[in-house]
Symmetry: C2
Subunit: 310 residues, 2 copies
């Protein structure tokens, strides 16, 4: 038996063919055609899967199902209930549309939740069943798994931890229109903002001066022992540790799995987050482990396949 994992993004759709042992046999991408309300996206996915089945000589009866991750709120029936504005979609039932082309079980969920499931199944969260995945990218995303199941929430916004309010004194707006969200300090853009503010504060020497900074330049400077960069990383760690301590007091996970572009800094990132987490966490929730995500951009196709195979 086989399963397909589909991760629908704003630019490309990633697809993976898995066997029942969770091994990825093939992976590929197709463009996301967003014109006309994104009406071609799901038909394109179905056709791509059908042609892969033909290529590999896989019969319909050998396909256990198709898992789909999509960027927006998806309810438990696989209906996209909103939020997928960057695909052009309105309300739309993913299984129903795919079933018009290919008659196998289809399960769908929000892409961040699906990526969390991927990390739980075959990545940094392997072996755990209560996990919070934290994605530090352009924004800060989250995916929560409780007893092995995705916590979708009442309106599909479960795990949106990037919008926990942490800073009353913030003057700039977050993408969500409020001020002081975790995302404003712990995302890639947030770290760049912390760097800009710290550098403007005084004239302390730093290799970060006189150039455009990013999470990468900051953590590279931290590794080189730059004192100002270390201050910035501590500030980042304090915000993220405080935010994750709040998350721990709510869902009491076994493990936090940190992924996204910022996590490419490696283990050194965790060395700034964990002490801050311990500073703020309610002690019965303080045993949570911190791990780095290991699946990178493949977390989505793994998690989508897990919806079928796990």
């Amino acid at each position: 038996m086989y399963a397909f994992g589909v991760d629908i993004g704003g630019t490309t759709v990633k697809l993976g063919l898995f066997d029942e042992t969770a091994k990825v046999l093939d992976k590929w991408e197709i463009p996301t055609r967003k014109e006309n309300g994104g009406e071609a996206i799901l038909p394109d996915v179905a056709k791509s899967i059908l042609s892969k089945m033909e290529e590999k000589g896989i019969a319909l009866g050998e396909v256990k199902g198709i898992g789909v991750g999509a960027p927006g709120a998806v309810d438990d029936e696989g209906t996209m209930v909103g939020g997928a504005v960057n695909l052009g979609w309105g309300v739309l039932n993913i299984p129903e549309i795919l079933h018009q082309y290919i008659d196998v079980p289809v399960k769908a969920n929000n892409d961040a939740n699906v990526a969390a499931m991927g990390e739980l199944w075959q990545g940094g969260g392997k072996g755990y069943s209560n996990m919070v995945a934290v994605t530090l990218g352009t924004g800060v995303g989250g995916g929560i798994i409780i007893n092995g199941k995705i916590l979708s929430g009442a309106t599909g916004a479960g795990g949106e931890i990037g919008h926990i309010h942490l800073e009353d004194d913030e003057t700039e707006c977050c993408g969500c229109k409020k001020k002081g969200c975790l995302e404003q300090y712990a995302s890639a853009t947030g770290i760049a903002r912390l760097a800009r503010r710290r550098l403007a504060k005084d004239d302390a020497p730093s290799c970060l001066r006189g150039r455009e900074n990013s999470a990468k330049t900051v953590f590279d400077a931290v590794k080189a022992g730059d004192a100002v960069a270390i201050e910035i990383a501590e500030q980042f760690g304090d915000y993220l540790g405080k935010g994750l301590a709040a998350v721990a007091a709510v869902v009491n996970p076994e493990v936090f799995v940190i992924g996204g572009g910022v996590s490419k800094a490696g283990e050194i990132l965790l060395s700034f987050v964990e002490p801050a987490f311990q500073k703020y966490v309610f002690y019965p929730c303080g045993k949570a482990q911190f791990k780095l995500a290991t699946l990178g951009n493949d977390a989505g196709i793994y998690g989508a396949a897990a919806l079928i195979l796990k």
Copy 2:
């Protein structure tokens, strides 16, 4: 068929006899005998249930089960894994002990979680399946229900929302030894502290001056239009709204059900919490409703019975 709901507290054990329609047929209390490591507590519960069955002419085969709420961390097998220090208990399997006296199914969980389940089943959360119960008493407790099931967490500390860190500038310690927890501002003692601090700040006239204040005196003064009391209630509401907005970004509930002694202030309490919640909440999580708990001290026996009957 019948079920018993048992709510074990530090002073008394509350018991209830329910029929399958969720109607409470009888309720009573026995003292909690904490001497000798609390070894008599569960045998006392079993004997009290057996004598109630005899009194009512209920046969063993007519008892669908016994649900138990206990003050500490309880794992999914009903083992008390810690935290029940005020009962004198160490690690102890509740179903195993009760089975020595009475051979019916037994389910156990943490008392705050069980009370949340009670409010979901027959109280302020009736009709919902994703709920956060917030208990504003001496401390601030919480119980989270996701898809109709209790979120216990990895170490039984799920829903401990009173220890979300909210205030970096706090100088006094919370009961948990950290500083700045939600509980320090939204509990009964927290509101009294906010009152003390506000009154010390200046000489603004207030009916709260010159006496010992509590959540009750503050909200009574609010109802009488006292401007200083209203300021205090706004501060309370801001902290609680901010904390619950963080909770909403994590688990995205349909409803918050507010109970505990402080909630006796009534609907006016919600009028201070909801606007603050809306100020801080991530908009896709902002549709959460606010309700008052309706079962009072009976939430525990209802929730314990729900573990069997729901």
